[in-house]
Symmetry: C2
Subunit: 331 residues, 2 copies
């Protein structure tokens, strides 16, 4: 799945900053891939990028209109069709991370055919994958894994890629979720792959590479999450990581969305992930810990990271507040 840049980020009439996470992710990490954002009346949030109309964006060379908003249920509201069709008529491809497919509207399919553009439903991979082989690949791999879902695995991965690039290391960010795919312009929505092919898809995501090249692979879910651990395990086995970075968020008392499920300790998370990762890479090691400390002050956050660093004899950082250079130094 390859997405053509630059993008126009469509945020609709969003009023909740969380609902435009997809637009925010790419605006934050790859502003150079974006010509601007497009919103309509009623919208009260922004990515901070220049506000453009579809026509203005087309003139600035936008190649893809990205539906950068989400809603519960993942429905593609019919009210957006005229605007999407306008973008198509201006020659833009359309990217959606919504559950309901762009291709579920025959009028969009027809219009896209007429103007020879692609409708990309990135939650619905169309690639045929092979089942996993466990074969050792050349090059090096780092995978972010978490105590839970939504603890900053994508943010940490992109921060690591940035820190490694700054040190002139050969590195690629490998995206496994829709926001990451948009940032990378390529990737596989791993939780949307048919279960039989999770590991095989993960293997294809980080192919053989030069001996000193690093793939930084975006983790998904958590081995301790009753709903998503299967995805996490298949991704772990297929990634055959040399290095793991443990991602964690402060002040959670239970697993995301599951009030009855306890949150695992960092110790448990390290043990579970090392044990499972050794199946496809016996030499795997933990490279560091990344903590989202936004729930506490900067000082308290630093103190917690310091304490975790001493407890586990590993670098421990808040990637947003401190960056991840300390973890890269430990690779």
């Amino acid at each position: 799945m390859v997405i053509h840049a630059p993008y126009l980020l469509f945020i609709g009439d969003a009023t909740d900053a969380l609902s435009i996470k997809m637009a925010q992710s790419v605006a934050h990490w790859r502003p150079d891939l974006c010509v601007g954002e497009f919103s309509v009346e009623g919208c009260t949030v922004s990515t901070g990028l220049p506000k453009l109309s579809i026509e203005e964006a087309a003139k600035k060379g936008a190649k893809t209109l990205v539906l950068g908003f989400a809603n519960s249920g993942g429905i593609l509201d019919k009210k957006w069709l005229p605007l999407i069709e306008l973008a198509i008529r201006k020659g833009m491809h359309i990217v959606s991370g919504l559950h309901q497919k762009l291709t579920s509207y025959p009028e969009l399919v027809h219009c896209a055919q007429q103007y020879d553009v692609e409708l990309l439903d990135i939650r619905h991979p169309t690639t045929q994958f092979n089942t996993g082989t466990g074969r050792k690949r050349s090059g090096k791999r780092l995978l972010t894994v978490g105590t839970d879902c939504s603890v900053g695995k994508m943010y940490t991965s992109l921060s690591l890629e940035q820190a490694m690039s700054k040190q002139n290391m050969a590195v690629d960010f490998r995206a496994t979720g829709q926001c990451g795919i948009l940032v990378a312009g390529a990737g596989i929505a791993i939780d949307c792959v048919v279960a039989d092919f999770i590991s095989g898809a993960a293997e294809s995501l980080s192919p053989d590479a030069d001996a000193d090249h690093w793939d930084v692979i975006e983790g998904q879910g958590s081995l301790s999450h009753p709903a998503f651990a299967g995805v996490s395990l298949g991704l772990l086995h297929g990634s055959q990581p040399d290095a793991l970075v443990i991602c964690h968020a402060l002040n959670r008392t239970h697993m995301r969305g599951l009030p009855d499920t306890d949150f695992p300790s960092i110790e448990t998370t390290i043990a579970l992930n090392l044990q499972a990762a050794r199946l496809t890479n016996p030499d795997v090691a933990i490279a560091g810990i990344s903590v989202n400390t936004s729930a506490v002050s900067v000082e308290e956050g630093r103190a917690i990271c310091q304490q975790l660093s001493e407890q586990f004899s590993l670098p421990c950082v808040d990637p947003l507040r401190d960056g991840t250079a300390a973890i890269v130094a430990n690779l």
Copy 2:
């Protein structure tokens, strides 16, 4: 997914007994669900059921024609279309476990509509599942888990169901693969579900039940298999088993299809499965060990089971040679 019995088992021109595993499974475990088998010239294998033409089977009340053969690639050969259409015209539903969908042939879709019958591609679930919740359900559950793929998890599960039925226990076999689905007449091909929904699908497969009711759930893959462990883990979490039965086959030196991956010990398999299962059921226990000893003599097989039984302080049987009553007695 519900399949209408009785079935006519179509084994084509098969010459390899392994290639008609789907037909063999249902002929062995549910001969009462079958009116007979249908083969064509060149076929050298048999399920042992009466040989019937499509017309004869229709007269005997067959409601579904089952494509009971497999081939590498899972292609539905065009040469079978006239025979499938004949069955449709006789009012039969069609069931296929092949990778290529029945519905990929417009002529079959048209014919099925005309005669108001279903085309069921059981490797392609169409149900919309929810993501898992980890919520504790009422009733009791047993899951078969394995040292590897294809070590007898379905056979063991069906043997356990039979043994429990004989003791008048309330029990249902819950199928997770295509052969099992045919035997049960219902189920979910769990490795064909989108990865995000593995656990949720497994949860829906064994719903709340009476306190003394047992669901015997057919396991898939192995936590030690680099290609399929994600499926095994999602199924394990969603099944929230009270009892696990470890399935094993003698004389394997490496994981199925992966010459470079070592075979795990029974000890490792027990430890990995107990650890993972405790996430959704802290009270899980191992009920017994089931070994396919067909690679050695009956006497040698018994001696091995006896030795394993003593080593692990658990009942250990060959389900084909000894039945599984000893494991049921340990529940």
